[in-house]
Amino acid sequence: MAVPTPDAVLLTPGGPPALPSLLVSDRRIRAQRFWRGARLWIPLGFLILMLFMCFVLPRVVTLPSPTNGTILDGNDALFTPGHWLGTNNVGVDTFSQIVYGGQVSFEIGAAVTAIGMIIGCAIGIPAGYLGGWADSLLSRILDVLLAFPALVLALAIAEGLGPSEVHEIWALSVFSIPTFGRLARASTLAVRDLPFMTAARLSGTRGWRIIVRHVIPNIAPGLVSFSLLGVGLTIILEGALDYLGWGIPLPEASWGQMIASGQNIMSAQPQYVLVPSLFLLVTVVALNMFGDALRERWGEA
């Protein structure tokens, strides 16, 4: 019993002022409050910064073109005036590429996760809640999707339909749908027979209303924090497709695309790999930490 039970730690009614603190120092309590906030706000701050940089900045400031450059500006080093993150071998500004490539990465990450979440939940929640033959049927659908090697399928889609951002989103969704579906099913199973679910059923609430009002609010925290992780994973996976040459068509860029093309000259010019990698790393870590902090907050709710 690390923390006293709820009966004892609830609010204070109005009354005489509390006794001064005896054992726990004010500093310790302030530090505890600070870190609790920091765990949520620091990663969130980084994410907002990244999104601002990718989506707002190019509308406010005129950046060099992310696709065209002059060969005269080629291979500028870091911190060159006008190209402070340097340029590539054909003179395209690296920072512009990061900004516009970040748009593509975030869009794909968010879209694939959203599609996975919506379709996955639409299959997984009824499967977990209904059980029986409905569960068997819906679970098999997820199994089939999971059994597809996502990369091969993505290659097939890119081959058949031609590489484009939308096609890549659908290809990667083949991977995210069963993942979210499985998670939604497992979380639903975990809450389905809790006493408050039985209580709701006995209170006369039925079917869909139970799913919408009881099941979803209770499994949402886990799903949302997992989806933040999913955005990060998708951005990395998208890079893998680019690397294989079946992702975003050149000369458009994404972070994954930049890392992939930079690898050819990594020994000579490591910044072509390091700069986008750093942005990718900060984003993925911030997404994960934000997801964890969010779950911590919601877990208490």
């Binding site: 019993m1 690390a2 006293p4 004892a8 009614p13 009354g15 509390a18 054992l23 309590i29 302030r30």
Partner: protein
């Protein structure tokens, strides 16, 4: 209290820093346990009864700040480094928890769990540890100990599991056994069996027993000394015979309220129970006066201003109240109807 005390706790205080505020769980608790004695520590959830015993055992999480003194046969336990504390735990003192299912490893045979406890504290061979484990199972009156040795916890009933937990606690013949709500999760008939077992073992092994419970009835039936806790403080302490005897002498209104609230076979059906309104105070913001004042029928201004100290008003009987109940009156007082 006396020099031959086995365990002497003086001014024990425990606080937690949780959720950005300080929670004062134990606020200056002093008591002593003599060898072979049965002390019952009684209180509701949040009264600090479990936290104080865990502090003595050194089982609190690192977020807890413990001050004060707890001497076991003269050795100060508070602030003792973990390795030394571990030596005392088991060899000198052991603890049995409420939930036997969670105290046992579900993937290990019970016999091995007991044998492991034996081997942690003494350098014996595997075969010797096994023989001792079977002996311990026999000691806790487990039927067919040789066969039970190879069974897993889930194959046993709650009562049988608690016997296994007790056997593990006894592996090194401790001088002090702390039973934290050890029978609360059990049925009444099983509870009676386990309490009888604990008292028998206490005689056989000459142990002191500290039983932590919310149940005054249990204390009255089995304990020799009773300590009642409220909001992290001892509010009343007396020998069980004196407190619950034919001409009982409960002086604290809180203890009285606990006694009155126990469902009584003699009461006619549907008669309202005497109740105390409200609930225990917030441990993050304890009032400066008596913590029970807000719920007490006899509370006056002095109660809200200054907290009464626990003092020995009658030989052997300590209480902390400015306006105690009249002596020798254990009848219901039905203070505040709901």
């Amino acid at each position: 209290m006396s020099e031959e005390a086995l365990l002497e706790v003086t001014d024990l205080r425990v606080a937690f820093a949780a959720g950005g505020q300080e929670i004062s769980a134990v606020n200056g608790v002093s008591f002593s346990v003599r060898p072979g004695e049965t002390l019952a520590v009684i209180g509701e959830s949040g009264s600090g009864k479990t936290v104080s015993c865990r502090a003595i055992m050194g089982l609190l999480p690192s977020t807890a700040i413990v001050k004060g003194s707890a001497r076991l046969r003269g050795t100060e336990l508070i602030g003792l480094p973990e390795p030394e504390l571990r030596r005392h735990r088991g060899a000198q003192m052991a603890m049995v928890f409420q939930d036997p299912a969670r105290s046992l490893n579900p993937t290990m045979r019970i016999g091995q769990q007991i044998a492991e406890a034996v081997r942690t504290h003494r350098d014996v061979s595997k075969a010797e540890a096994r023989a001792e484990a079977i002996e311990l199972l026999r000691l806790v009156r487990m039927p067919l100990p040789e066969r039970r040795f190879g069974e897993y916890p889930h194959q046993l009933s709650g009562g049988m599991r608690q016997r296994v937990v007790i056997a593990i606690a006894l592996a090194c013949k401790p001088k002090l056994l702390i039973a934290d709500e050890a029978t609360t999760a059990l049925d009444v008939t099983t509870q009676a069996q386990i309490m009888e077992l604990l008292l028998d073992l206490q005689d056989e092994l000459d142990m002191a027993l500290v039983m932590i419970s919310h149940d005054l009835g249990l204390a009255a039936s089995y304990a020799s000394e009773v300590v009642v806790m409220y909001a992290g403080k001892i509010v009343e302490q007396a020998p069980a015979g004196q407190l619950f005897g034919a001409r009982g002498a409960v002086r604290m209104r809180y203890t009285r309220a606990l006694l009155d609230a126990i469902p009584d076979m003699e009461r006619a059906a549907h008669t309202p129970l005497p109740v105390v309104a409200g609930r225990p105070p917030d441990l993050a913001a304890l009032p400066p006066g008596c913590a029970f004042a807000d719920r007490c029928a006899a509370a006056e201004d002095d109660c809200r201003e200054t907290a009464p100290d626990l003092a020995e008003h009658v030989p052997g009987h300590r209480w902390a109240c400015w306006h105690p109940c009249a002596a020798g009156d254990n009848s219901e007082n039905g203070d505040i109807p709901s």
